[in-house]
Symmetry: C2
Subunit: 207 residues, 2 copies
DNA sequence: AATCTGAGCGTACACTTGTAAGCTAAAATA
DNA sequence: TATTTTAGCTTACAAGTGTACGCTCAGATT
């Protein structure tokens, strides 16, 4: 059981995943991919595809998982940057924009399948985004004065805004892009300020 | 030139548009539609399709326009409700949720093509949403103390959050749905409060 | 060493797709 | 009334799709 065989299998499996990601672009979504094309780019016969995935859906869900993983790694990186003295909001936004640029196809997959035609896909993407929100909510709850519910609502809004800004960023460059980033930063500030303001108000009420 | 001919043409043109909308659903997006299927449902031969549209893209852009129209009508309705004494935020959100329910396929089209594979589609949807944002920004600027830039940033955030909540609402019902609506209402309040708070601060600074 | 397993292949088939070409007949025009 | 226009039709084709079936032969197992 040296695993020469299993190793090779893993390799072509990964080749399929990468082939699929490579074929994603601004004008090619996952549902546009064909099993045959993916197999061709991965260098195997169409029918060999089935040795690795039941169908294209299964490939797709695997890809969503992989994109989610990238996203979580990104979060960790952002946290590190913040810990070493960056502004929370700006650092988060800038880090996310790097994700858009460096892993645009991963992001595109999440973006599109979030509202795609497969319920399983939508659920998978929603799960990944929820991770994101929960982590942020946890951070907000521990670092700012607010309860769990307020933290979650706040985090959800922030993630939604950043994610959406990312989507818009895909189509623009240069100054327009900078303006977009500046706008979303202000939007996050509004959220933060508004939330903390309501918290203070509640405390006054109950005092 | 009684127009019997032109009238009939308009009728089947509309039949094509409606057939296409009817074929949209939770698990059937515009890019899944085929010219033949649409023609079949509209009751004409596949090749007759070309008497009305150059290709499916042209049909799609027409559909986006139609959905945009529905959206603008919705805005007018919301404004009427607000004028007759409703809470701005709650009324807007509730009205939007009615749009999601009553015209789900129109909404689905905008939702999906916003991040779809055709740049023309994305631009068309972005344009419709921008109308929405600009109208709201104009309202905010005239009814609350803030400058044009602040109003726009605020309006953009609010529209993004409501639009996104709509997307999530498509997949859920009942209590979860109510909770979602409540969350987005709070998010809008945070935005409003945060923005007005920053405005006050600026005034204090410059005074 | 003998046997089994399974990743990858080639062939084949039944479908669906977009659309080209040319016809028909009814409405519009002159 | 004679002519032109055109919405819709039928037929036809080439291209691409998913996948069933059965083979091979290198690696794993016994």
């Amino acid at each position: 059981m040296s695993g020469v065989r299993a190793q090779q299998k893993q390799k072509t499996r990964q080749a399929l995943i990468e082939a699929a990601f490579n074929q994603l672009s601004a004008d090619h979504s996952f549902s546009n991919l064909s099993l045959r094309e993916v197999a061709r780019e991965a260098g195997i016969a169409p029918t060999s595809f089935y040795r690795h995935f039941k169908d294209m859906n299964e490939l797709g869900l695997t890809m969503v998982d992989e994109a989610g993983l990238t996203l979580r790694q990104l979060m960790r990186q952002a946290r590190r940057r913040i810990a070493s003295g960056g502004s929370v909001i700006t650092t988060s936004v800038v880090t996310f924009m790097e994700f858009i640029d460096n892993s645009s196809n991963q992001f595109r997959l999440l973006l599109r399948e979030r509202s795609g035609t497969s319920k399983a896909f939508r659920a998978a993407v929603a799960r990944e985004i929820k991770h994101f929100i929960l982590e942020l909510a946890h951070y907000l709850e521990s670092e700012t004065p607010c309860n769990a519910s307020q933290a979650y609502i706040q985090a959800e809004a922030m993630v939604t805004l950043v994610f959406n800004a990312g989507a818009e960023a895909l189509d623009i460059e240069g100054q327009q892009r900078d303006e977009l980033v500046e706008r979303v930063i202000w939007q996050l500030r509004y959220i933060t300020r508004g939330a903390s303001n309501y918290v203070r108000e509640n405390k006054t009420d109950s005092a």
